[in-house]
């Protein structure tokens, strides 16, 4: 989560007993093979980015009823490569007010840190690679998930330093917004993961995947899954939470002053971060590289072994990538204060409450709240679990009822009847009428200097607004 957390938890994990070690078996993995795997993951990520940028532009194009890039290569597939070459051959200006070292360093941080989290993502189970049986995962540790959170925080420095060092107003605004956004949503994201840890009993990614061999955590931790999906969009500064770039207000946000490959690093970083959060989401909630339940049962788990895992993992990851693109194509950006309010006043308390609920349900499952149990379809469920779930449902319904009632009362109180007539210049500047409202013809010689001054523009506006209610 933060550097603080990495120090607090990440480092001493070496001292944990052997039972706490990750499930993945790295005993047959020499150092050179680890490096080869790192190279494989690296190339996999770069290729994925090439495809996803094309994919995004094509899909957004379709959503907006235009073809999207279709010139370079089949279906325009090489468009991203062409863009990369173009970026590379562009001039690399650095504004005269910018901090010389930090300006470059910031883009390097963004371009470097985005790759690191993927080191702990299991792309597949045990595979045969150059004669060694090894998990298709660069490394795993008992604090792997924590590590990805810590690295995401370091990546945020890339954005913050970019805004600070540009020596320009818009980037500074964008960077401040972005860091506030990232830290606010990181809390909800971290808390959403707690439910997964309670069920898995580990923070190692391979163990979490292994523990999901019966039930994917999207079912017992469904609300966490929803929260994670919301926060991952906030964390990556993507639409509808793209306030850090805020094209309509801040030009390009934190990267306004960047050009050429230094900008390319931010572009790359954004997409790789999307892959990272999507991969984490698949790993933590959708069973990681394991085949979907129906397919997993075929032929004694034939599709659930070796390199097949890479296919399932990629499919699951792309499901979220599609979701990102879909959001971008269909939703407008939300206002910054609404975004922050949603994060602090809804996501955080709701996640904390949910963590307690999960703790109770899990506690009941483990028999902390009593041993009596009943069975449905051959599976045993503790009675206490039924109690907890019932109680929580009742509580949630009660809260929802109060909330809806309150909102209705508020809406009643705020109901504003529009008068039948409107003077469009009453406030000094033209206001369009609501449907069904009649315009009052303003007096020609007004004492209002503003209206008289802007006479030609005002005339056209008045004619247009007069047309509107009739049609």
């Amino acid at each position: 989560m933060s550097n603080l957390m990495a120090v607090a938890l990440g480092v001493p994990s070496v001292a944990l007993p052997a039972a706490e070690q990750p499930h993945a078996d790295f005993s047959d993995t020499p150092m050179w093979l680890t490096f080869v795997k790192a190279l494989i993951v690296f190339v996999y990520l770069l290729l994925s980015v090439l495809v996803v940028i094309w994919f995004e532009r094509r899909v957004v194009g379709r959503i907006q009823q235009r073809p999207g890039p279709n010139r370079f290569g089949p279906f325009g597939l090489l468009q991203t490569l062409a863009d990369g070459v173009k970026l590379m051959t562009k001039e690399d200006p650095r504004p005269s007010h910018a901090d010389k070292v930090v300006f470059t360093l910031a883009s390097l941080i963004a371009g470097t840190m985005c790759f690191v989290s993927f080191a702990v993502i299991p792309l597949a189970g045990q595979v045969n690679l150059f004669g060694h049986t090894t998990p298709l995962q660069v490394t795993d540790a008992s604090s792997a998930v924590l590590l990805t959170l810590a690295i995401a925080s370091v990546g945020a420095y890339g954005i913050l330093l970019a805004g600070w060092s540009s020596g320009s107003t818009y980037p500074l605004y964008g960077a401040l917004r972005s860091s506030a956004q990232i830290i606010s949503y990181e809390i909800a994201m971290g808390l959403a993961l707690v439910a997964v840890f309670i069920h898995a009993g580990s923070m190692s990614t391979s163990t979490i995947v292994y523990q999901q061999r019966d039930v994917w955590y999207v079912i017992p931790a469904f609300f966490s899954f929803i929260i994670y999906v919301i926060t991952m969009v906030g964390e990556t500064n993507r639409w509808p939470f793209a306030n850090a770039e805020g094209e309509g207000e801040l030009v390009g946000g934190f990267h306004t002053e960047y050009g050429s490959m230094r900008f390319g690093m931010y572009y790359l970083g954004e997409y790789i971060n999307m892959f990272t959060v999507s991969a984490m989401c698949s790993t933590l909630f959708l069973g990681g590289w394991q085949a979907p339940p129906g397919i997993a049962a075929i032929n004694d788990g034939m599709f659930n072994h070796g390199w097949w895992g890479l296919l399932w993992f990629t499919l699951k990851m792309w499901l979220f990538l599609w979701f990102f693109v879909w959001l971008r194509g269909t939703l407008p950006n939300i206002r910054y204060d609404q975004f922050m309010r949603f994060g602090w006043k809804f996501l955080i308390p709701a996640t904390i409450a949910w963590v307690l609920v999960v703790a109770f349900i899990r506690g009941a499952q483990l028999g902390y709240l009593g041993d009596s149990s009943f069975s449905i379809g051959g599976r045993r469920f503790p009675v206490a679990m039924l109690f907890v779930i019932g109680l929580v449902t009742l509580l949630a319904l009660a809260i929802a009822w109060v909330w809806v009632n309150r909102n209705q009362a508020k809406a009643e109180a705020n109901r504003f009847e529009h008068p039948a007539e409107i003077d469009p210049f009453a406030g000094g500047h033209p206001v369009p009428p609501m449907p069904g409202q009649r315009l009052v013809e303003p007096a020609r010689a007004t004492t209002r200097g503003v209206a008289a001054h802007a006479e030609p523009v005002v005339t056209t506006t008045r004619q247009e607004t007069k047309e509107a209610p009739r049609g």
Binding site: L9, K37, M88, P93, T112, W164
Partner: protein
Amino acid sequence: MLNNPYVPILFMLALGFAFAAGSVGASVLIGPKRYNKAKMLPYECGIQPTPRPEGGGRVPIKYYLTAMLFIIFDVESIFLFPFAVAFNKLGLFALVEMILFVATVFIAYAYVWRRGGLDWV
């Protein structure tokens, strides 16, 4: 040292850095360099750039408040993580402890909310 699970992360770090530094360096070498005074000014859609205040200027207090609140809740999740990982072995006592802990943090949260610390407008 060689069996340390954190060493391979350095591989990824090195690969990422080599790629980032390589491509930025290449673009510096390949790209044209045509100096133009206006081009080097801060970009504000073509108008004269806002003069920068001495010492970086002032930043709305909201951001500092958010940063401080972040630390409170970050520490909360730090304590929740080991609790969650060891939950299977801890028993009812830990569950009760954790409820007390969350309730304590919730008091701080309610206070901040009541004092308007979470309002952005």
